[in-house]
Symmetry: C2
Subunit: 470 residues, 2 copies
């Protein structure tokens, strides 16, 4: 059947206005912000309900059409962008943006997958609750995409990854069947935990249409400190000290190098250097408590006092109010985008066991510096989770295209070091299309075989986000 | 091939001493403590290493032998007991009891699956760390079984179910292949999260041989209170108040009825009534913090003070020392076993959304009391998780066998009410053989079909723990 006929049939499901076929209408769905992928598609479908998603997938299943689900289009590994060959239909979840239920007593919220993360945070806040997932793209990413990629972010230390926040899912399967797994139970041991496969499944096993999520008491007290340190070894020791003393009250521990802070000072609106003199490394440490009774400020001062005595810390500033806390986080959250202004950047999203993070940074920094003399490593991120965005900016004045030709070779060097430490080549961004070939090099045949068996069991025709992950 | 020949071949893998074939040697592996199941087996195999487990499963796969994995044999749904037909070989993990590694800085421990839970708790403690999983059977249950059944227990409120404590697994697959997924990473988004299927998989998809687990800061301050209340509605309000004020510092919230406390006073060594007068209902509330800085005692007093003012609480005693905390928990942990001494008991391990727990208890108590006049409901457990062990003891002086004939009919009544509240018929004990038929009545065809597809993909010959779960 011709594409135009498919479009007509699909329009009868979602309505004419929700089948986008012109170049202009489709454009925003076909590129992502790093410009790594540019896709092509016969149409973008924008269903408004679970039933419509079900009917679309049933039609696609019967007619052998491939479908690429897309949320807020903020993914970093190309999973949400159709291929260039023009055969993949984009299914955008953005219109499914209702909050279905919120239960403050049971600390749960049930939302459709197109709800923007920031909206979800705000809905929780209105009910005097916290939805803790927090990341740079929160103003546009959607919760369905967050779940499909098991998003990480800056609150993982205390609250876990997105996976840990999900109580139940509603999913449309590749054949159009709806699985209603929307439970709000804290405990449920009735058979295999199917939702776990869709979480982090990157849309290859089913399309998440709604989710029941955990809420938490809203932090009553929140304090942060911006700390200057000599090196990552001092940062790791500071982390151990803080974790030991604060336990779950330690809700953020992010590391940044001087060069990253300088990039922010040059290119990020409203960024100011929190400390007077420059330091080689920085840590943004946040403590917060859902209880009024906790002396958060005293504890933060105690941790820093001890760290000064131990020679771990060179200088530190404590937040005086919430807007200063936000100013610290502004720098941290801006650290990704400012790299664009400094030319080419070769990216790695890696993790190692927390105890190995300083040794990993030593080795990786020295290896890439040897490989491309003059390159500027900007490794930053979630030290408390062992997760570093090991990004490497081009040497000043170098040719961007020429520099980026080192991408695969530099990846190989860094991932080799990650491997030696028993780490992961994709800590929080997923596999998508970007790391699909890499996956084969880091997983055993046994593990890849199990993944293929699952994919075949769920999507025997291979129509849902094909070529992503596997 | 004759069983004796199989025994010989398998003995060449594990050694003669580790193939048990006499009636006396096999006996402890063939009954469980509730006496609900009595099994038969040609032999019990006791491998000492992952390689031996791998060779056994490979041999079983080639020869079509069915295998029932068994840990500490404390499961409550018959999953670990071979059937009566005598065809299933028991594979006991008890000899695989090594701690492979402990990393206090990274807060992780890697152990073999035969390590007894209490041993694991002690190993963590020696390193000044907490492994929080805690349940009545901890002196004999093994961590491999805990993981395979996604055990719950009394620390779920603050630390989650066993699922939430697992970072990585080593699993022997039904064909004998070893999957090494023993990672200690806090973040890893490289494809489907396979370990989630083995967690709570009840040994039907593979045999867990080792696990990497999360550790936590050891509680520096621990306080508990034994509270007398009029009814579960007051208990739910107390829970909301405590959760709001204490957040993650609220580490235990257990409900018990008067009759259960009376059973303990009659049948449990060393049990004393913590309160002077009797109350219809009790709550054991525990607060603890990994930080010295937290005024845990003050907060507990503040919560109880407010609860008194609101008329939620009739009386309360606060622990004066750790042995008093333990005395409170002694009653709670003893509540399951003491029911044996009071004749027949019909069991339900159910959960509902936390906010619905008081309404559920009202309805279920009145329904079973109408069904069997004079029966004694002893619903107790993890109110903070929405999880109640809804056990119903026989009327005083009734005939035990005759009473137990009501099992299925009473289950149907209680599970119907659970269903109306969107709850689960197996909150933490799993499905095993006991609830296999029930599963078909509470899951959609879509969900059951997905589970079967997974089982077929992992264990196409159906040799591993057949007839459990599905």
């Amino acid at each position: 059947m011709e594409q135009s006929n498919h479009a007509g049939r699909l329009a009868s499901i979602v309505g004419d206005a929700n089948v986008l076929t012109t170049v202009e209408d489709k454009a925003p769905y076909l590129v992502e912000w790093r410009d790594l992928y540019q896709g092509s598609t016969p149409m973008v479908l924008r269903p408004g309900s679970t039933e419509e998603v079900s009917k679309i997938l049933k039609y696609a299943y019967e007619n052998g059409l491939t479908i690429v689900p897309q949320g807020g289009n903020t993914g970093l590994v190309g999973g949400q962008i159709p291929t260039e060959n023009g055969g993949e239909i984009v299914l955008s979840l953005g219109r499914m943006n209702k909050v279905r239920n919120i239960d403050p007593v049971g600390f749960t919220i049930t939302v459709e997958s197109g709800v923007v993360l920031e909206t979800l945070q705000n809905e929780a806040e209105k009910a005097d609750r916290l939805f803790p997932l927090s990341l740079g793209a929160q103003g546009s990413c959607q919760i369905g995409g967050n779940i499909s990629t098991n998003a990480g972010g800056t609150a993982v230390l205390a609250y876990g990854n997105t996976r840990d926040l999900v109580l139940g899912l509603e999913v449309v399967l590749p054949n159009g069947d709806i699985w209603n797994g929307l439970r709000t139970l804290r405990k449920d041991n009735t058979g295999y935990d199917l939702k776990q496969l869709f979480i982090g499944g990157e849309g290859t096993l089913g399309i998440i249409t709604a989710a029941s999520l955990k809420l938490f008491p809203k932090p009553k007290k929140l304090e942060a400190s911006f700390v200057g340190l000599p090196d990552p070894h001092a940062a790791l020791k500071l982390f151990s000290l803080a974790k030991q003393k604060a336990g779950p009250v330690l809700t953020g521990f992010e590391i940044m190098p001087r060069v990253g802070v300088e990039f922010c000072l040059s290119h990020l609106d409203g960024a100011r250097d929190p400390l007077e003199a420059p330091h080689n490394w920085y840590v943004l440490m946040e403590l917060s408590s859902g209880s009024d009774a906790f002396p958060v400020r005293d504890l933060l001062e105690e941790i820093l006092g001890e760290a000064f005595e131990d020679g771990l810390v060179e200088d530190a500033v404590l937040s005086e109010n919430l807007s200063q806390v936000n100013a610290f986080w502004h720098i941290r959250h801006g650290m990704s985008e400012v790299q664009k202004a400094e030319g080419g950047s070769i990216k790695h999203d890696v993790s190692v066991p927390v105890a190995a993070i300083a040794d990993f940074l030593d080795k990786a920094i020295s290896a890439v510096s040897e490989f491309v003399p003059g390159c500027r490593p900007v490794p930053f991120g979630h030290l408390g989770d062992g997760n570093i965005h090991f990004n490497v900016s081009q040497p000043v004045g170098a040719d961007k295209e020429a520099y980026l030709k080192n991408w695969d070779a530099m990846n190989e060097i860094v991932h080799g070091i990650v491997h030696d430490f028993g780490g992961s080549i994709s800590a929080e961004h997923g596999i998508g299309r970007l790391k699909r070939d890499l996956l084969k090099t880091v997983k055993s045949d046994t593990e890849l075989d199990l993944m293929h068996r699952i994919k075949d069991a769920f999507d025997p025709k291979g129509l849902l986000n094909p070529g992503r992950v596997l």
